[in-house]
């Protein structure tokens, strides 16, 4: 064999992917050929640097939360009648439509589920649809930031309300960002927090002439919702986080 024939085998030797007789053959060639030996050293050096220096990523919590949420959707498991589209920014529309059907079908049942009415009785369902939609790719946040001093001013001029954005990072609820959303036709502020792989959406909007109320809880479609009022602002927290930790979060947030 000539040097050219060995060149490809050198890389495979670095990876320990050659047969024993090939290894012996290549090693023998390397012992007598300075050019190939230098090439081999270079390949080995590149491989070493890559193994040591290259970045390994961890899947972000938000991605895990999105996946968990998507897996919890009833239609996630249906066999591939319609193969999923390539990573799609459009898919949420179908999901939102599906959510709407569920909302309509179940609104009669959930009508009395909450003892206190917001602007309308459709609010919890609308919040839940918004929450689920927010977990689809690209919909969680309009402003992505872990800094409360960036998230809060972002709402200025976009809303007639400056939502509270407490820093709960040290308490295990990192800030993810914020977005504008529409609930029953009105713009609302949404501040997004994380807890391990879970996402917590905190909705708020101004209400007239109300005084503070204590948090009231409701469960729907496997999600937890908590409603409370502070001054003339109505708050809702929505998450698939367990009830105990969500209550703890609300206590810290409303503090």
């Amino acid at each position: 064999m000539h040097c050219a024939d060995y060149r490809e085998l050198l890389s495979a030797l670095v990876d320990d992917e050659l047969m024993a007789d090939e290894v012996a053959d290549v090693r023998q060639h390397l012992a007598g050929c300075a050019d190939c030996a230098r090439d081999y050293d270079a390949l080995e050096e590149v491989s070493r640097r890559l193994k040591e220096g290259v970045v390994r990523h961890s899947a972000p919590d938000v991605l895990k939360a999105r996946i968990r949420s998507a897996l919890a959707q009833p239609d996630a498991f249906s066999p591939a009648a319609e193969p999923p589209r390539a990573p799609g920014r459009l898919r949420w529309t179908t999901l939102a439509a599906a959510g709407l059907v569920i909302a309509v079908a179940s609104s009669a049942v959930t009508f009395g589920a909450l003892h206190r009415a917001g602007p309308g009785n459709g609010v919890p369902e609308a919040l839940l649809d918004s929450h689920i939609r927010s977990l689809m790719p690209g919909h969680l946040t309009d402003v992505v930031s872990t800094n409360q001093h960036l998230v809060k001013p972002w709402f200025n001029g976009r809303l007639d309300l400056s939502p509270s954005v407490p820093n709960l990072d040290s308490l295990g609820f990192p800030l993810i960002g914020g977005r504008l959303d529409y609930i029953e036709g009105r713009p609302v502020a949404v501040v997004v927090y994380g807890r391990r792989q879970h996402v917590i959406n905190v909705y708020s909007w101004p209400v007239n002439g109300a005084s503070g109320t204590r948090p009231a809880a409701a469960d729907q479609r496997g999600y937890h919702l908590v409603e409370w009022r502070a001054g003339d602002v109505e708050y809702w927290a929505v998450s698939d986080l367990n009830r105990v930790e969500l209550d703890q979060f609300v206590k810290l947030f409303a503090r």
């Binding site: 050198l10 495979a12 090439d39 193994k51 290259v54 193969p83 589209r85 390539a86 990573p87």
Partner: protein, 174 residues
């Protein structure tokens, strides 16, 4: 699909999410695109989970992630300039005065990331599967869908390009 199947899916497939995300990051070179592609891949994997036989779940998932990423690539091509993003530790940036040794180590890491990001995708994917995910040639061949011989030659050529880009062992023109 029964709840038991879903639980099995979560047990078998979800532990490889970090690897899936890492591959997507290298293939798409964008954090948000990578998240979208991985989410899409996992849902796709769930739909085809029945076709998964006991075996290497990681390689199985990586193959789906790769396909989602390449589909994504094709759809996005031309939409934007592909500027390789660097994965630099934030901690390294805000650290104030750094020692010469640290600065050198950092610039070496950056050069490495940049060199990998600049590789054509057919070389980049085998390099990442081998050096980061540490798959065997046989597994890489299954993930990429090419013969083992092709894996071997792409790895050899990819490393050669990296050696040139990093100035490793280039005493003479070849």
């Amino acid at each position: 699909m029964a709840q038991r199947e879903v639980e099995r899916f979560e047990r078998v497939v979800l532990p490889h999410l970090d690897d899936a995300y890492t591959l997507a990051r290298y293939l798409l070179r964008d954090e948000h695109d990578a998240q979208d592609a991985v989410q899409d891949a996992v849902l796709r994997a769930l739909r085809y989970f029945e076709t998964y036989r006991d075996g290497d779940a990681r390689a199985w998932l990586l193959a789906i992630v790769r396909n989602c990423c390449l589909t994504w690539h094709r759809r996005q091509r031309g939409d934007r300039a592909t500027v390789p993003l660097l994965d630099i530790d934030v901690a390294d940036i805000g650290g104030g005065r750094e020692t010469d040794a640290r600065a050198i180590a950092r610039s070496e890491r950056e050069a490495l990331q940049r060199a990998v990001a600049a590789l054509p995708v057919e070389f980049r994917e085998v390099i990442v599967l081998r050096e980061v995910q540490e798959l065997s040639y046989k597994e890489i061949s299954a993930v990429v869908g090419v013969p083992i011989g092709t894996v071997m030659s792409r790895l050899a050529r990819g490393r050669k390009r990296l050696a040139a880009a990093l100035g490793v062992g280039v005493q003479e023109a070849g």
